[in-house]
Symmetry: C2
Subunit: 409 residues, 2 copies
């Protein structure tokens, strides 16, 4: 009962019961060539769950989705999403525009209104060009299909400063039936703790209650999207939505076979983790992906604080960019997380090579660390030797390219 | 009874009862020309107070000072400080070296040991070259004087990546006697909330109990050094020390005339704030100093969280560098401070020009914000309109120069 995993798949068109369509409607005022509108449609009403940004300043579409999921009791028809404009900090008009997007999408597919989720990503503080968005919705719904080429177009249409689409598919068999979990995501800037500027859409063909999906999604998100950091800036729009069509004929709920539940959770975890990893790997102008593994903590929260302090330290991130194994900056950041670490017990490793053991530097190993940090991906391990709790954060370096890219919008 | 204030003064040589000496002893292995060792000596035992980094990983000299202040009951002879090596993460040998510095300085001036404070700043994780340090202490103590030229040399000898010395002097009269408060500081990298990589030495000629000095220094520090941020990285070595010689003949304690206490606190506040401002203004490769004023908060802690989220946001700091008045990023960072702000009540101003009022963007003012952010110094004001608490943080931009400067040690 192994799970088959496909990287860079077509994404949601792999999942029976769903069609997608994408269009370019010139939300950026730079021409119709660039795709910027995606519609995901379930063949019939389907169960949905969402996890959203915890930012006090939530974009209009986030507020809309949260309300719509309650009003619809978690039964929806699909998702309409645009890139190029975040519809965030847009006051009352922003709420009206988000609602209008849902209604336009529902009307275009002949579904009752209030059954579409709405997502936006892009510039903050500007009103959506609703005429263009309406044209885009019309065009995208005309193109709805299960073609893998359209799946790839849909994954492209939500991108902003990403350089490539991010998709993944997992399948497994259960009692002669095939179950699929697949999704696509976008990331790039404002990528950080607790839901990044990112959208991720995941679909599956099990049938399940919304509450069951919500728990499964929350668990997968905590160990994937919430464990990555590019720049520490949490966005106003972060959203992960999971839809379940039921087309596989396999029902999942809290009373289902434990082995089935476990397989499903594992498939969902893998999809979310793969998408999160792709988001870090395609962070704005990054050159390194570094796994920060903190272990031996008294509590998981302590390990997480230290991992985030390290992964978000400008000095640490700059030294990664420079391929300089500056473990002193790791120790400094670990210390200012203020979890009560004991320097005399602290071990620091680059991969398996110790740089510090029990607080004592091992400068003789420097040539070996220097080799390790030249790789595009490597691991730093901080052992506090105070307990058994741990946390792993996937972080990126900070480059002059990032600063120059973000100098202006 | 006005306070006279002198910017870019000679610093501590302005204060009766103190002498300083500086030397170059080649701690960096780059020659003797660069000054890297400072000694500050009181003519006789004097009261002292210190405020230190709250980092769990404290450098050896910080641990030494904290113990020595207790052992000496706050009565010391002076300070010995070096730049070029932080003596941090140096295990047991680091503690022995810090103690040896204190003993060498004490022996050189014929004072009992345990009466010198020790400070170090520079690279982390390397042992001090103690032979060189000993030679530097001998040289610096030979040069001890009240000459203003030596005062400037002492202020130079503690610098690391700073581009200029940071000094200030304040004087006022009390019952026909002149009272002076003066100091010098270093900053540049690892400058952040709650004591930065910074050393600041302040001297005065009042006579006072150590406990009185401690309270006055804590109050001044909270409103100066703890309200600045360059890169959000809190260091292992941050130290502010205040010494009081009593040479003015004016005694200060909790029973002293309220007007005198107030004047002294104001002079001390001004010196600390001036030094803190100079530290931000000379942050590594910065081009902008931005005052982030958060007001209308329910609690001061909420206002502080928001100001720090804004002042430490990579996206906000990058946009300041680009002279792009991207208020959306200010709103986003204010939101992820998660103080429970209400977007519909949020006002954002650049200086006195509104960008957002009651959550509604005012794009027509954009040409005016664009002018404001071209200045080297400007102010952003965030009014939450929820209460009357406020916080002001002095922050800098983030430049490609900072990243490239910090790529390697």
């Amino acid at each position: 009962m192994a799970i088959e995993f496909f990287n860079d798949s077509p994404g949601i068109t792999d999942v029976p019961g769903f069609r997608v369509g994408a269009a370019g409607c010139d939300i950026r005022n730079k021409g119709l060539e660039r795709l910027d509108l995606t519609v995901i449609l379930a063949d019939k009403p389907c169960a949905a769950a969402g996890v959203f940004t915890t930012n006090d300043v939530k974009a209009a579409p986030v507020r809309f989705c949260q309300s719509a999921l309650i009003a619809s009791k978690g039964m929806v028809r699909g998702i309409v999403a645009n890139s190029g404009n975040a519809n965030a900090c847009t006051s009352v008009q922003g709420d009206q525009d988000a609602e209008a997007m849902a209604k336009l999408a529902a009307a275009a597919v002949g579904s009752p209104s209030d059954t579409f989720m709405v997502c936006s990503t892009g510039r903050i503080g500007e009103l959506l060009p609703m005429k263009k968005v309406a044209a885009g919705i019309t065009e995208a719904t005309k193109r709805l299909s299960r073609d893998s080429a359209e799946g790839t177009r849909a994954a492209e249409a939500i991108l902003t400063s990403d350089t490539r689409p991010k998709t993944a598919t997992a399948c497994f068999a259960w009692q002669g039936k095939k179950i699929t979990v697949a999704g696509f995501a976008k990331g790039a800037g404002m990528i950080e703790p607790n839901m990044a500027t990112m959208l991720a859409f995941v679909a599956t063909d099990v049938s399940a209650e919304p509450a069951f999906l919500k728990a499964a999604l929350k668990s997968a998100t905590d160990q994937s999207f919430n464990c990555v950091s590019v720049d520490g800036d949490m966005s106003t729009n972060d959203t992960v939505i999971l839809l379940a069509s039921g087309a596989s004929g396999v029902a999942l709920n809290a009373q289902a076979d434990g082995a089935l539940q476990k397989l499903f959770q594992e498939a969902l975890d893998r999809i979310c983790f793969a998408l999160a990893e792709k988001i870090v790997g395609d962070g704005e102008k990054i050159t390194k992906v570094v796994a920060v593994e903190v272990e031996g903590a008294r509590h998981r929260a302590d390990a997480e604080k230290i991992a985030r302090a390290i992964g978000n330290s400008l000095l640490v991130k700059s030294s990664w960019f420079g391929e300089d194994p500056n473990w002193g900056r790791l120790a400094d950041a670990a210390g200012y997380a203020r979890t009560g670490l004991d320097e005399a017990k602290l071990d620091i490793h680059y991969e398996d090579v110790p740089a510090v053991l029990a607080g004592k530097p091992l400068p003789e190993n420097k040539p070996r660390w220097k080799e390790i940090v030249k790789a595009r991906q490597f691991k730093v391990r901080i052992n506090l030797n105070l307990g058994s709790a741990k946390f792993r954060l996937l972080a990126s370096d900070l480059t002059d390219g990032y600063v120059n890219y973000n100098k202006s919008e």
